[in-house]
């Protein structure tokens, strides 16, 4: 009798199932982020409307540049990734653009809230969402975008990112270091997630293989029974 545990799954089938699962997960993540992009856009407009709707000069007022930034920059940040999610779901370019955009949303929100330290939590929350892709390379993209944003702004306008005018040149590394701290755990989660999906694909392929084997056995048994049926009938008559 064949031992179920030693059933060899077709490696091609395992790989195919694995890719199917990973792709489905990444397409779902793309859709989630597409919805998030639109939600963040609407939230940015609401935030700008509530926090800084008008710039004043004495008695006169005009729409605040933050409102324009929320509407137009927000649209720019959201539109391209959403289009990619619609037309190129599950592809590497889509998730890298999505993650870069998500990190830039953090920068925009920090601006719109006047550099509130609490808004910096958006960076860390976003990274956690990014891990849903189960692709550690997008975490690298996210970290590079955050570090580059801090480095460039730190050199040009240090107050806008660190709240002080004369930070050390390496201050961006401190910020990137905390992001990397989170990344280490998230990369591990991504790799573990992929391993689990491969394990699931292997088990599914084994079940399929077992099912095929059982169906073959049933067919063979049925054929033997059919062959034996005349002999059995004759024996019964005698």
């Amino acid at each position: 009798m064949e031992d179920v545990s030693t059933l060899a799954a077709d490696p091609g089938r395992v790989e195919s199932l694995y890719r199917e699962q990973v792709n489905a997960r990444r397409v779902r993540a793309d859709r989630m982020f597409a919805v998030l992009m639109v939600a963040q856009w609407l939230f940015a407009i609401l935030l700008a409307t509530l926090v800084s709707p008008y710039a004043w000069a004495g008695k006169t007022r005009e729409f605040h540049p933050h409102l324009f930034a929320a509407v137009f920059m927000g649209a720019g940040l959201a539109l391209f990734p959403v289009l990619l999610a619609v037309y190129k779901p599950g592809q590497a370019v889509t998730r890298h653009v999505m993650v870069a955009s998500q990190m830039l949303w953090s920068a925009l929100f920090i601006h719109l809230t006047g550099g509130r330290i609490e808004t910096h939590f958006h960076v860390f929350g976003s990274l956690a969402f990014v891990a849903f892709y189960c692709d550690w390379t997008v975490l690298v993209t996210g970290t590079v975008v955050v570090a580059a944003d801090h480095l460039v702004r730190g050199l040009l306008y240090p107050e806008s990112v660190y709240g002080i005018t004369n930070p050390e040149w390496w201050r961006f590394l401190e910020h990137a270091g905390w992001v990397t701290f989170e990344d280490v755990v998230l990369v591990w989660i991504c790799i573990t997630g992929l391993n689990e999906m491969r394990g699931l694909a292997l088990r599914q392929a084994e079940v399929e293989s077992l099912k095929e084997s059982e169906e073959a056995k049933s067919a063979a048994l049925e054929m033997v029974l059919k062959e034996l049926q005349p002999s059995l009938a004759a024996g019964a008559q005698a």
Binding site: V51, S52, P53, Y54, A55, W56, A57, G58, K59, T60, R61, H64, P65, H66, A69, F72, M73, G76, L77, F80, K88, V93, V97, L104, A107, L108, H111, G114, G115, R116, R153, L156, Y157, E159, S160, Y162, G163, I164, T165
Partner: protein, 201 residues
């Protein structure tokens, strides 16, 4: 096609952030602060106490950060004999409700603060203030020690040279500069020309 779209996207986002950053660090008009406390002011002249004054446009979104920083500054100077005023500038034709904003309410919550309604910015004009968030520090003898802003940039909270200098002036009597950039909306106050400096001749 995709690469082209990505490049356009990156360029547009880059331009947007550059515009935002430029706006954030664009300072307002500095004050033409009188060297001595203006005698005609309705606010009592400093008498044995440092006098800290902030001018505020109640509707300016940047005022929120200015008031937050004022609160932080006064917490640092809690034991240093500082009397603080906030001048809330209001055009005469506007109702008082126009000034009942979160910034003004936050200012009123600062312990020991004196919030003064400044109709048509008369007092602010006497101090030569042109921008919301302008802060003055006068010595106990009524001499100007500092005039500038206490936010790091427009509408942003955080450490700033202005705060550092005021604290240093009160605590040690010296600072690396007597002014700083001020970030905020234009007050629209009619500025009185500052009195010429006494040359002693």
């Amino acid at each position: 096609m995709l690469v082209g779209a990505a490049l356009v996207w990156i360029a547009a986002i880059g331009l947007g952030f550059t515009f935002l950053l430029n706006y954030s660090v664009e300072p307002g008009t500095p004050a033409l602060a009188p060297d001595e406390w203006p005698r005609e002011s309705r606010i009592p002249a400093p008498r044995g106490q440092y006098q800290l004054v902030m001018t505020l446009h109640p509707q300016c979104p940047c005022s929120r950060a200015s008031v937050t920083e004022l609160n932080n500054l006064l917490a640092l100077l809690r034991n240093d004999n500082v009397k603080a005023y906030v001048l809330v500038v209001k055009p005469a034709e506007f109702p008082d409700e126009w000034t009942r904003t979160e910034s003004v309410k936050n200012a009123e919550r600062i312990p020991g603060i004196n919030v003064v309604l400044d109709v048509d910015g008369v007092e602010a004009g006497r101090l030569g203030a042109a921008t919301s968030g302008q802060v003055y520090l006068y010595s106990p003898k009524g001499q100007l020690l500092f005039a500038g802003g206490i936010t790091p940039d427009r509408g942003h909270v955080g450490d700033s040279p202005g705060r550092e200098r005021i604290v240093s002036l009160v605590k040690t009597g010296k600072a690396d500069a007597k002014d700083s950039l001020v970030f905020g909306c234009a007050l629209g106050a009619k500025i009185c020309p500052p009195r010429p400096k006494q040359t002693g001749l």
